[in-house]
């Protein structure tokens, strides 16, 4: 029930709505569940509603942690082929 992906806000519209786009696909969604949405924010869209705002710093930190977690593994993976 939880299909949802992060999509960028292109424009704020009346009635708590916003225009969001993902790789050229655009869609109008409700932002009634969020405060202070800004153009450029990435929102998690589920069934036409934005549930939360992506935190870009935490997104970067997550990737850092993932790379960190991969370091010991990478050292052992010299024979790995794509």
């Amino acid at each position: 029930m939880c299909l949802a992906i992060p999509i960028r806000v292109e424009a704020l519209l009346a009635d708590d709505m916003a225009r969001v786009t993902l790789s050229g696909i655009s869609k109008t969604v409700s932002i009634a569940l969020l405060e202070d949405v800004q153009v450029g924010d990435y929102l998690l869209i589920h069934a036409g509603y934005a549930l939360t705002r992506l935190d870009p710093d935490e997104a970067e930190r997550t990737l850092d942690l993932m790379r960190e977690a991969a370091v010991p593994g990478l050292a052992e993976m010299q024979d790995w082929r794509p």
Binding site: M1, G48, L54, T62, A69, V71, G73, W80
Partner: protein
């Protein structure tokens, strides 16, 4: 796609898998339940189990709302849709769920019922506005992810004074379901002879947690002494969460940790929580497919919104209906039976002719295994011991 593709990097995933393999203590077995159907889907779609060492296994949980909806409620929805003047709006996921007597919403539609598939609750409101002569009922299902959208629609219907709109509410709550999975006698929970399966930790819900935050899991983790790591639905999120769970087990910890920090906060979405609280209240008890009657596990409309409650408007009294006795969806949902172990799997039960709900939703454990995992059956796997 920014913020999507970078979390699907296969090389990084393999490296993390190697790290997991090196940190998982040899001879020790780790079994983690991914609660959400979204995680089950990711596990199958990306072949995550193939990446994990043989002593780290995933058990599929009951977190697919389509799968846990009991037959009786589908029967109610069909009966509603067949009433003259009623238009039933529903998410497409529900169309093919088997009802009793071989029925489904899809079949009811071909028999003349006015059933419309909607992508959002706003579409249902729009239909009610455009067609004032129809009694528009929104068939609401889902965990906390989907509940705020229903709450907003109910508030909107009130504000617009829509008299021809109502909601057939089937919203359920995540924490009681986790409790129900774990709340079995200790010996049952750890003994392969009784068909139980040991669960060492949980990959916690992704998008449910954007709404409810991580706090509700704290009491569960503490009470059952099981670690919970809230994780995103992308494959790297899963890999990282599994590593975090392995480390907690190794350290003897049972904390609630948040892997999905880019989306989930401790407190969750307070506006969404307020919207839910304003419109809904706890239902004394609700039947879950596979888990049975669970107290305080579902929501119903508050008295103040009684006029928008389809159950009251149409005097619906749900009759509990037994599943096909051979169908093992119940045990699959509890993580006790693997999809391929069910006698019906792949014989009479397939996505084309689903006997149970786990085969209907693409997030159901059986459908996910059918769609992506079947060929793994051909490779003999080492049996996973139920206890260390």
């Amino acid at each position: 796609m920014k913020y999507i593709d970078e979390y699907r990097d296969g090389t990084l995933a393999r490296a993390i898998a190697t790290t997991i393999a090196s940190e998982a203590v040899p001879g020790r077995h780790y079994q983690f339940m991914e609660f959400c159907g979204g995680h089950t889907h990711a596990v199958s779609r990306y072949g995550i189990e193939d990446l994990l060492p043989s002593n780290v296994r995933m058990v599929h949980g009951p977190g697919c709302p389509v799968c846990v909806l009991p037959v009786g409620r589908i029967d109610d929805a069909i009966a509603l849709a067949l009433r003259p003047g009623v238009t039933l709006c529903t998410y497409a996921d529900l169309m093919r769920v088997p009802a009793s007597g071989g029925g489904s919403l899809l079949k009811a539609r071909s028999a003349g019922a006015d059933i419309r598939m909607v992508y959002s609750t706003m579409d249902a409101i729009r239909i009610a506005e455009d067609e004032p002569g129809r009694d528009v009922v929104f068939f609401a299902i889902g965990f906390e992810t989907t509940t705020p959208a229903t709450a907003i629609a109910i508030r909107l219907a009130r504000r617009k004074m829509l008299r021809n709109f109502s909601v057939f509410c089937n919203h359920v709550l995540t924490p009681p379901a986790i409790r129900a999975v774990l709340d079995v006698p200790d010996d049952d929970n750890a003994d392969e002879h009784t068909g139980g399966v040991r669960i060492d930790g949980f990959v916690g819900p992704a998008h449910v947690s954007t709404v409810i935050g991580t706090t509700p899991y704290v009491a569960l983790a503490k009470h059952f002494r099981k670690p919970v790591v809230v994780a995103g639905f992308e494959p790297l999120d899963m890999m990282q969460a599994i590593l975090m769970l392995v480390r907690q087990i190794n350290d003897g910890r049972h904390d609630v940790e948040n892997q999905y920090i880019r989306m989930v906060s401790e407190a969750g979405n307070l506006i969404a929580q307020r919207a839910i609280a304003e419109v809904f209240e706890l239902r004394a008890s609700f039947e879950w497919r596979g888990l049975g009657e669970l107290p305080d596990s579902a929501l119903q409309l508050r008295e103040a919104y009684a006029d928008l409650d389809a159950e009251r408007r149409f005097s619906i009294t749900t009759v509990s209906t037994a599943d096909n006795p051979a169908c093992e969806c119940g045990d699959v949902l509890r993580g006790r039976t693997k999809p391929a172990e069910c006698k019906l799997f792949g014989t009479v039960c397939s996505p084309e002719t689903p006997m149970g709900s786990c085969m209907v939703s693409p997030e159901g454990a059986c459908a996910a295994h059918w769609a992506y995992g079947r060929f793994r059956n051909r490779v003999a796997r080492q049996p996973v011991p139920a206890a260390t």
